[in-house]
Assembly symmetry: D3
Amino acid sequence: MEEFSAFRLERVDKVAHVIINRPEKINAMNAAFWQEIRDLFHWADQERSVRAVVLSGAGPHFSSGMDLSLLGETAGQLGRDVGLNSELLRSKILELQSSFNAVEQCRKPVLAAIQGYCLGGAVDLIAACDMRYATAEAQFALKEIDLGMVADLGSLQRLPHLIGEGMLRELAYTGRSFSGEEAFSMGLVNRVYTTAEQMMEDVFLLAQTIAAKSPLAIRGTKKMIGFMRDHQVAEGLDYIATWNAAMLQSTDLRTALAAQMSRQTPEFPD
Amino acid sequence: MEEFSAFRLERVDKVAHVIINRPEKINAMNAAFWQEIRDLFHWADQERSVRAVVLSGAGPHFSSGMDLSLLGETAGQLGRDVGLNSELLRSKILELQSSFNAVEQCRKPVLAAIQGYCLGGAVDLIAACDMRYATAEAQFALKEIDLGMVADLGSLQRLPHLIGEGMLRELAYTGRSFSGEEAFSMGLVNRVYTTAEQMMEDVFLLAQTIAAKSPLAIRGTKKMIGFMRDHQVAEGLDYIATWNAAMLQSTDLRTALAAQMSRQTPEFPD
Amino acid sequence: MEEFSAFRLERVDKVAHVIINRPEKINAMNAAFWQEIRDLFHWADQERSVRAVVLSGAGPHFSSGMDLSLLGETAGQLGRDVGLNSELLRSKILELQSSFNAVEQCRKPVLAAIQGYCLGGAVDLIAACDMRYATAEAQFALKEIDLGMVADLGSLQRLPHLIGEGMLRELAYTGRSFSGEEAFSMGLVNRVYTTAEQMMEDVFLLAQTIAAKSPLAIRGTKKMIGFMRDHQVAEGLDYIATWNAAMLQSTDLRTALAAQMSRQTPEFPD
Amino acid sequence: MEEFSAFRLERVDKVAHVIINRPEKINAMNAAFWQEIRDLFHWADQERSVRAVVLSGAGPHFSSGMDLSLLGETAGQLGRDVGLNSELLRSKILELQSSFNAVEQCRKPVLAAIQGYCLGGAVDLIAACDMRYATAEAQFALKEIDLGMVADLGSLQRLPHLIGEGMLRELAYTGRSFSGEEAFSMGLVNRVYTTAEQMMEDVFLLAQTIAAKSPLAIRGTKKMIGFMRDHQVAEGLDYIATWNAAMLQSTDLRTALAAQMSRQTPEFPD
Amino acid sequence: MEEFSAFRLERVDKVAHVIINRPEKINAMNAAFWQEIRDLFHWADQERSVRAVVLSGAGPHFSSGMDLSLLGETAGQLGRDVGLNSELLRSKILELQSSFNAVEQCRKPVLAAIQGYCLGGAVDLIAACDMRYATAEAQFALKEIDLGMVADLGSLQRLPHLIGEGMLRELAYTGRSFSGEEAFSMGLVNRVYTTAEQMMEDVFLLAQTIAAKSPLAIRGTKKMIGFMRDHQVAEGLDYIATWNAAMLQSTDLRTALAAQMSRQTPEFPD
Amino acid sequence: MEEFSAFRLERVDKVAHVIINRPEKINAMNAAFWQEIRDLFHWADQERSVRAVVLSGAGPHFSSGMDLSLLGETAGQLGRDVGLNSELLRSKILELQSSFNAVEQCRKPVLAAIQGYCLGGAVDLIAACDMRYATAEAQFALKEIDLGMVADLGSLQRLPHLIGEGMLRELAYTGRSFSGEEAFSMGLVNRVYTTAEQMMEDVFLLAQTIAAKSPLAIRGTKKMIGFMRDHQVAEGLDYIATWNAAMLQSTDLRTALAAQMSRQTPEFPD
């Protein structure tokens, strides 16, 4: 992989650690960020030796969201024809969305570890991850309303599947802050920690646990849960039956069964 | 606006306060109620100076639900042909439902403030609001099962998006009461209060906060969250991109950005 | 009803008690289990005198899930043509799924009472029930990942409607155990109990309460909640209007109203 | 019914004849048109003695579509804020659409009889009718493309259910004219006639035939076909079963059966 | 297979010929018919040596549809409670529908060969077949409207996928007859023939052609086309990719490729 | 644009002519084909001066479909684990599909001009185009069934929107050839021609006509028709209203109106 300007990439065994790395800018999302995150998660998707991904922010904060200079740049590209402007803006938004879609479509589970600020676009980002873990004093907010705009990068689309719709409306209409503790009580994060160190340790433990499972089964499980968000139960049952018709003939299954019988830890190829 | 017999309407700056006003009948929903609520929320939807709505009940209770005399009246209109009766009943139900749909489709956020009884049809009503706040000792119940009927005014349709399906089934099958406290723990209400006064104060504070935001952005945010309840994530992403293609060219956005830069409070036109 | 080898059936007034009855095998799901559960719930669906069903496990555990010998049997039926194997496996999975679909489609509410182990296929089973109640020390786990496979009997399909998607992913990727207490806090079970005796007593009380309601209204309510899981709110409103167009002409409604007026307990025919 | 300025209404037994009546303007759709068509079809929907509707144009043409002066008027209402303009335009379009939705949602079948020009908005209109009949030399065209805009009043939405998608694209991209003859060969109209007189005679014959059937059954059939356009086959089967559960208890059914047995013509009440 | 009273079953190599066999009653659909057709198509679905099915009527007619005596029987079971009657009727309709669903869900292609009358329920039946062939003088009609009822056995649900919606409405509202010739021109039947003999010969030729193809590929193709009727294009592309992931590893594929290379006719196992 | 090995690209004013250029191999689809077609249509999508695309085959045939050597190559990559093979095959199929999706998603209309053979994968390809035109003696066939496989590149998914489902099943089950004439009568192609020269002349005339319209309006029209294939009518009406809210403020609209008033031909910028 080439060099990154907005990220740092580390490998811990079979876990990739993707770190937003602009701490001096509170990890704000600049032009490089949007391109690199797509490349990074395409790579994690394709690289067989990566089995789980941890996403975090360098320094005391996760991310303050969109870098406002980016908005200014786009504004500068607008001309006098409202129609052409609309077409341009629409394609820009779709392009930004596709960066976070790359996180969601990465076939390996992605665990977000959040401390400090997690604002605006950063909430859109963690909503595209599989699971979220935070420090108790982390600060979240759906800030878009304070920019006079409707959030368009995924939080309004994905959060209804994670938190109650009544609370989502309050947060989206008011833009108010909420802590990691409150995020936990509304189901946004799976667990809260006193310190960032404890959080990172526990998140890596979880990621390692996942990395030790059958990669084929993990990828299939992620696919199915994603599929269910958008389909009826009967459709989901038919789809998994079609999927498993092939996968139950896989070697991983026999490896797992043999290990279970002999009470040993199975080893799965990448 | 003309006079109301089942409601009272108050204005507090840009917040409309809609009060069910038949305290001597525990705010039961009579014929006037069903017509007037539709008119009131159509008005709130169209009136530009209204930016948020608070809905509450006069007296110690929110509402005891459907006025049973209405059922009797409808029964009196039934004839001998089961087919014609069915057509009549079907259109009556659709008409009642449309009164609560008017609450949901009002483009301004609606905050329900609930104390005392909130029974039967009243639960259908608050399910059509954006957010719900209650006193700890408020009493909720899905009473329809005790009338020997299936609830048909929206609670079974909208509650699965607000509370866990397992708990919804228990409440709908048994018709048992539950407190504001329990309503909070299952995600039906966003917050509970010791007294009705504290509740009203806090709810108005929230409504005022919302009323100070860009009205265009608030209306768009409500539209998007409503859209997501019925669509796939990918459809929602495409829809907001199309929506924002025009809205990002709006003046409100520039007003908000300028205010943010100068650290002042922005003023948005109605 | 004929004799069962994997189940025991008891009747308590209008409540059917279906007991998984292979305690010496931790109630593992063998070939007889899959056939009998379908027959039992078809019977409960059709038998007018049954108005609610309680499902539990004999002995200290609810169930350890799939009997692994069954998997071995299926493996033995596979030949050399991957295509024919796939078709065979697909139809086997659909057949097993249909056993749990029979639980879900039984028109009478099904209450699962869970103590001890509730592992793998047992989680798929309780996800197809209407409501779940557990002892605090019950142990749940989505074990399929440890067999190197994607769960295909309904848990990944039905759980997103019961628990937060973020927590579901953690449980499905790691296969870790969680207690009845944690199951309650994530919304999987409606209530937890210190002892199995307390649980059984309370669950039967609930079942009796449900059995005393109008059977027509209970069946309709179950139908509507199931319908909503797969449809838009507007579709659900139209459907219930069509349904109630006939049902509001039923005698049960008049019985219930009369009882309410005279403050007596109504008696509904089976 | 009050007076109309853009329409003329005639009654022929149980058939309502709705005539666009601005022949001097080639029946162009002005402001009055859009309001009155909604009122007319709401009336036809509610008036029990109306069992079928014929829609035609006064003079040699059906309609030349939108009156361009209306577009000018709307343009005049636009201000300087693109966002507010968008909201205004969006609600204007939805309002115009709702006029044609009223045609579609009228519970009585609507038969369009088309001669001469049927251009732009007129194609949107006939697409909302149940059935279309035309003279061989009638001239159709999707003219919106020549106004530099995307058709937004229903033709692109409803025509895919009436004509092949390949031909629809050609017509929509080129805006070319096509004759009644070609409209028949692509399935847009059910039959073509040499003269307008023959057409009107035959269309009224069809309308009378429909008016003699059970009104309850006709309304139900229209509802089902409309339902199917937007739902899966399995959903449609369940819906009609729920619908007919009440309707098969209707008197019309017994009237029809008795008539069939005695080989007489049944008489159905309005 | 046991004996049939409403059908006759013949085998011609790998083609099953299912013949409605009550010519003295114009092949009207009596109680035995509804049970036996389900059994027959379940058998054809499971019996590996059957690769295609031809469905026809004994004597000069295909079928006159529902046996009216059946309606009378059901009417006799109705009691005084409209609600219970509705539940009974709903389940009766679903049961009848499931007989035709068995035709549709049979994994082997079903070719209907139609001469003479094909009325009411018979149109519902052929709509559940894969393909339809008719004599030019065959007579079709959607007769339900003349019974004062909405068709509820599948024609309104399945025909929109076969014929233009405009023509379907005319046929459903008027109940008028139409010939094999007209059925062909509207796309209901694939081909018309001068005599029934020519038709049977050609239909068997087609069935034999199909029976000589890879059975796995035929079953998969039927599954995919059925799937597409109810899903979006993108969903269909994902589903076939998942399906073929296993099936492209099948032996049939290699057999077909080898035959193609050597220009020989491939032989596929049942 | 770089050089192509499987294609030739020509420009005729604002129309791009994409020519499959392997006439010595009957334009079979080899590895280069699949990559280049994606690049070509991405380019046509982005290049503002291209307003319509004509797709044809060099030499006497359009294309014989998939190059079988490609299948062999993929087979060579398969290993011993059925599960891993399935994952590999699934991703290969999705990749091939994405090449044809690029044709469909190109925002400029694509007109296919077909002579000679159009077999297997070539039918999948033309199904992804906007419109199809053919010589009377062209030969089409869905050949996949003769390879012992289910077609997986789009024909089964897209053809139901173009031709009757009954005829599609016959063609897919038998793999039989059909002429341009028959393709026209079933709605697959919009027009047939005696010679390829006449066809090319007429197709370019159509393409030029389209290229002279407002590009913004053409792109929007294509988007809407594509949207409708996968959505309900009500969703489509809402979507176009949102789309046009911005687009009706475009300059193209004013240009078109001004031209219409002055009866001149409008000139739209790219």
